[in-house]
Symmetry: D2
Subunit: 251 residues, 4 copies
């Protein structure tokens, strides 16, 4: 069997599939409390005039008005990123299934500048890293990963194909063969969240030294979270502004 | 103090505020399992060709593909309806607040044909009712309710206004005065649900003798649920068809 | 028909039905991250030595270790309290049903010292109240409520009994008759929450001027929340201490 | 560097850590609807006399009474099992973290009798397998997996240790090095669920030809689910009986 061609990449892709709502919907939903049916008129009103209300909701953690909007993202990332992402339960996920589909040979490697060598002050609770200094050191890391990824994918194909093991049967099922695939292999996933849940995700999966509760996420999930954040900032600019002004704690 | 003018009604209003997604989004989300990134092409494809897939998802209770859509409703209904509705936790609610707003004097009365007299075979677990036979009996019910509603609203205003109690203070706070308001008073609420949660709501709050698990909801929440159902049937016709064919159990 | 005897009360009762877990379980669950199977040994270890870990989890908002415990409460409170409580979706509720059971004539009135007259600086968003100054003013409030509650319950009985309306039928169903009952009537409810959800409930339904995000709950739900808090403080003393030290935001 | 010693196993371990509640608690919680405060007396009553009630709740899908109990499990299983398990959102998880801890070299291999060769009628939607017929074929599968697991763990250690790459730095961080570890490596996790959520998990992750909605789970998650099921059957025998009698759909 030919050694398979594999692709190495550091890219984590997050694309908006669809969205519903916006800052005006936050205002209108909140106005139901005080205006009942008439709240509908704020759906089409400029939300800017109501920034004070949005900020008040955020500050006092009246969270429900931020739930009448939704965003669906397509994400392409290594399995170890989805492992973390899917721990957030107020969200909807549909991911590529290695039971049903042969996974593509696309694997993650760290970028050249990725901090990954422990420095003084490192603790498990708060990992502190620096990038590798020398190019040859970085190359050695990549070479080790590449070799291992290729071997894993080769074993996967051997297990899952007729020719693989040189035996009488047509290969063992994908759901068993996948056991040898590494968590650095890429997968695809759709994620739908409302802005409240998204802000909670951002609060835990981005690092901001000025946040009221500072988080220390792994760089790769932060990369995915930051991509979501940029989309969110464009579609819900006032909510996003209030989120930052109030310490990046989800309401 | 003048006796207040009150409004009696039997109407339960549910209006669509916004929606996102559709049957094609169910198909595309499900295709992520088997097609990864390429699933995006089903977003714009005619969903009809994929009815088999939608039905398969419903039958095998693969529920997550039905979560990448959303509907926001405005509902106007008595408090006793929202009491039941808000027990459904996979949904987002913003309701008129009697802490912040003086509630309007709009009160619920049963329709003429509303089954409400217990008949043989009635049990608490499965209430069986018939409509009132005579018009004068119905009128007596309405008169009792009208009188009581008016008295309640009068007391509410007395408690909450300067003149109310003939005292030195400007009336007691709305949050205290509201204690005398009946659960038959109308309130307004925004509700956002995804189709999976909506189907669960429908399965428990509508009565269908052919359902795999038959429910016996109160008529008024069923009226609200049926209004949601009509909107859902228009926007997600294939999903709705599969829901009915597979026994009206949410996937 | 005799006027019914009704009971007026200001008491809100919350009693612990059962509980599971404790601070040691928080520590053991967190240690799974770093110790895998060996984490079990912390189940029976004194949690005091691990207060630093509990505080770290709280501060960095690692919330999941606080979910492997549970508390079930019995609560007896007016409907308007349960209306607020049941908006908290990460909890399990079973409440007395006015569809199935005739509610008891027990009604809520404010305590003598309950702040309820608006003072300067009052806004809907941040209601500021003072108690009534004069006893006769308080008596007038109570008298108005008592009269209204009794009338409501009388109407309820008339609607729901054979003699009630002097007609041929046996009274209309409880589910319809209840429409005239006020939200100040008492109900009973079981509530099961885990400590993480309970801390979220406390953060929003108690007022603490030193909290990182200050809430302004209605006095009656705060009374219920404070009763839960006392039970929690006894059973999870280290978690409770960390919750307060870290600004009363649920992890 | 010496090749590491690795352990191969097919065992999936699920152990009860703690539990709260039982059938009597289901009855008592349900009785709150019809008996309010007096429901407490059923907490200590023999639940057997109330099997009819439990069955009625199950059949009519009144789910909330099944939420006032809880079970915490310790599970030791391959990552691909936890990937599926953690998609169930009404549950609490704390898992071993490969960011914080070096994972142990314990890897999953299929049992000899595990059906894993596709047979006629196989489709992605409903995989149909048979076991390998010949011992040498099975040995070839195990040998491929063993070799690949050992190579993966060797690469992991090389990446994560001083000596590993023969360079000046102390090895790259665990959070990066883990990318080469396969999803067949074992992890440990605590899972807390209530009986309602557990029944939902069982309905989707066990295969029962008599269920109203038949599921086709992967064998390994079914093994974990069946272990949970045995514990559940012992602690909640009446609930479990009703679950089976009513078609294994969670209420």
């Amino acid at each position: 069997m030919e050694p398979p061609t594999i692709t190495l990449t550091s890219e984590i892709t997050v694309r908006l599939v669809q969205q519903m709502g916006g800052d005006a919907m936050v205002v209108a939903a909140a106005r139901v409390s005080t205006s009942g049916e008439e709240a509908a008129k704020w759906v089409a009103a400029p939300a800017e005039e109501n920034y004070g209300l949005i900020r008040y909701l955020m500050k006092q953690r009246h969270g429900s008005p931020f739930e009448h909007s939704a965003l669906t993202f397509f994400a392409h990332a290594p399995i170890f990123v989805f492992r973390e992402w899917q721990r957030h339960r107020v969200a909807s996920f549909n991911e590529e299934s290695a039971r049903y589909k042969r996974l593509e040979p696309v694997f993650w490697v760290p970028r050249r500048g990725r901090a990954m060598v422990a420095v003084e002050g490192y603790t498990a609770a708060r990992p502190k890293f620096r990038p590798l200094e020398r190019d040859d050191e970085y190359e050695a890391v990549i070479a080790t990963m590449r070799e291992q990824y290729r071997a894993a994918y080769t074993a996967y194909l051997r297990l899952n194909t007729v020719e693989g093991l040189g035996t009488s049967h047509p290969g063992i099922g994908k759901e068993v063969a996948r056991a040898v695939l590494p968590v650095g292999i890429y997968s695809s996933c759709w994620v739908t969240m409302n802005p409240r849940a998204l802000m909670h995700f951002l609060s835990l999966r981005t690092h901001d030294a000025d946040a009221k509760y500072v988080s220390y996420p792994q760089a790769e999930i932060e990369e995915a979270a930051r991509a979501c954040e940029r989309t969110f900032a464009v579609g819900w600019p006032l909510t996003y502004k209030a989120f930052n002004e109030c310490g990046r704690v989800a309401p």
